[in-house]
């Protein structure tokens, strides 16, 4: 798409196919002629043909539209922003979160609450991390701001639960340690760009 095409916002005036309609009859004789013409050309049967064609297509050619939802699910986009996921480091299996608190700070709905402490090896560790999904607006800022790609959005969009706590605790959002091999990077907001390896440059040491 060229830039000119891209910037053209007058989408409404172009690709319309105008119907070839006769002018509305004004006189009684004109109306009579229109009725006779429409009745004798059997315009009504065209509608019947369309529905029958759709029925035959649906029944015999597998063109049924229905998705039996709880049993079948449509794929959602990889950048979809649903319930959060906490990622682990691939090498060590330790969670990526460094307890910087940026997500807590940026959250416009004030839904994230975290507590940290210094662990045994003087590494900051997360002692408490919850997201209040009653307040979360799924804006994606937390994923965007996270420097470690630790908190991202997942694809879990069925958010009905008996208790809020059943999906808002840190451990529930964390990738299970035995699923570490299957952990996928989130391609949405805040993720590393596709050409990240190509774009990386050596930092010059001397100016």
């Amino acid at each position: 798409m060229s830039l000119e095409q891209f910037k053209n916002r007058n989408v409404g005036t172009q690709n319309y196919r105008m119907l070839d309609l006769d002018p509305t009859p004004v006189t009684g004789w004109g109306k009579f002629k229109q009725v006779v013409r429409r009745s004798l050309s059997l315009e009504l049967l065209v509608g019947l043909k369309v529905t029958l064609r759709e029925m035959i297509k649906a029944l015999f050619f597998g063109k049924m539209h229905t998705t039996k939802y709880p049993f079948e699910k449509l794929p959602i986009g990889p950048r979809y922003r649903a319930i959060h996921e906490m990622k682990r480091l691939l090498e060590s299996g330790h969670y990526r979160c460094i307890g910087c608190g940026l997500c807590e700070k940026i959250c416009p709905a004030d839904a994230i609450r975290m507590d940290t402490h210094y662990g045994e090896n003087q590494r900051k560790e997360v002692s408490e991390y919850t997201i209040n999904f009653g307040r979360c607006i799924f804006c994606g800022y937390c994923a965007e701001v996270c420097p470690e790609l630790a908190i991202v959005h997942g694809g879990r969009y069925e958010t009905a639960s008996e208790q809020r706590a059943s999906f808002s605790l840190f451990d529930d959002m964390l990738t299970p340690i035995d699923q570490l091999k299957n952990q996928k990077e989130f391609p949405g907001y805040g993720s590393v760009s596709v050409q990240a390896d190509k774009n990386i440059k050596k930092t010059p040491l001397a100016y």
Partner: protein, 328 residues
């Protein structure tokens, strides 16, 4: 060989009641399925295999629902109105022959509950009397939507009933009898009436759609315009009786069209008569659903215009031409 007894008539009446109620219930399932297929949906699927038990689920729901009567309604009439609709629909079916006569256990059974010699008039009259159901229901329920529905019932009723009568007049003149059995016998010696009276067939179909409140003419209970029209305040089994009456009427119109215009239960090539008429009735029923899936409904004023200014003159012209042809 035994003659028709009172017992036989009672048995037949019970059979008609039972079978037509069951078919009316099954008709709702078929309607939902066919409409769904035409919109490339699946329709009811979860209750029973292919949703077949949906009828039972609906029935249980209707029976256990609260029977609600509005405070300002005329309670007596409000309670009677659905019974009128359902009862007249079944009474009309008593004078309709559906199958060829047969012999069972050595007893000769004419498959009609009451072979009255004014069959067509009786059926049409009963179906017309059934319109008192919506009319009284709409007027008694102290609801404005219901009142509009009742007004539309009256307007629609006087419009199409003229067309029904006049369109059937031409076939009646040709057959020379009002008995539906004579109509069927007429088909044995002549080609189907639809080939001799195509205009009357089309007019009768249109009037039949109006008579059963099917979609192009469902002015009485149009959800988009007047909530549910005459049935707005009804719930539970009273509403269900309106529904059963409507479906029984659909079957009556389908049977009438099959017997008068489509050859009735005479044998067709290799198809035995009883199967032939079942196929014809099924096709007419399917046609009603098909039309519902395809066409939008008309406005009340458009319907008046259609009935009085188009259909009635056409019917009169048809009668006159038929008369001239018969005379010459």
């Amino acid at each position: 060989m035994m003659e028709v007894t009172y017992l036989g008539v009672i048995i037949k009446a019970i059979l008609i009641l039972a079978i037509i109620s069951a078919i009316a219930g099954f008709g709702t399932y078929i309607e939902r399925k066919v409409l769904a297929f035409m919109q490339r949906r699946l329709g009811p699927m979860n209750v029973g295999p292919y949703g077949l038990l949906q009828i039972a689920a609906d029935g249980i729901k209707l029976f256990t629902k609260e029977d609600f009567i509005p405070q300002n309604a005329n309670k007596m009439i409000f309670m009677v109105a659905p019974i009128i609709t359902a009862a007249t629909a079944f009474i009309a079916l008593s004078a309709v022959p559906v199958f060829p006569d047969f012999t069972i256990f050595g007893i000769f059974v004419p498959s009609i509950a009451a072979d009255v010699n004014i069959g067509i008039l009786f059926v049409l009259g009963m179906m017309a009397a059934g319109l008192y159901g919506p009319l009284l229901a709409g007027m008694s329920q102290a609801n404005k939507w219901g009142l509009i529905g009742a007004a539309r019932t009256a307007a629609q009723f006087i419009s199409y009933e003229v067309v029904t009568g006049l369109s059937l007049l031409a076939p009646i003149m040709m057959v020379g009898s009002l008995s539906l059995i004579d109509f069927n016998h007429y088909n044995e010696t002549h080609p189907w009436m639809v080939f001799m009276q195509p205009l009357a067939f089309v007019l009768f179909l249109i009037a039949g759609f109006a008579e059963t409140n099917r979609t192009p003419f469902d002015l009485l209970e149009n959800e988009a315009e007047i909530i549910a029209g005459y049935a707005t305040e009804y719930s539970g089994m009273r509403w269900g009786m309106f529904f059963i009456g409507e479906y029984a009427n659909m079957i009556t119109v389908a049977v009438l069209a099959s017997i008068i215009f489509l050859g009735g239960y005479t044998d067709l090539w290799f198809i035995p008569g009883w199967l032939a008429i079942i196929l014809k009735i099924a096709f007419m029923f399917f046609l009603m659903l098909w039309v519902r899936a395809s066409w939008p409904h008309v406005r009340p004023d458009q319907f008046m215009w259609l009935a009085w200014k188009v259909l009635m003159p056409l019917a009169v012209i048809n009668v006159v031409i038929t008369g001239i042809v018969i005379m010459v």
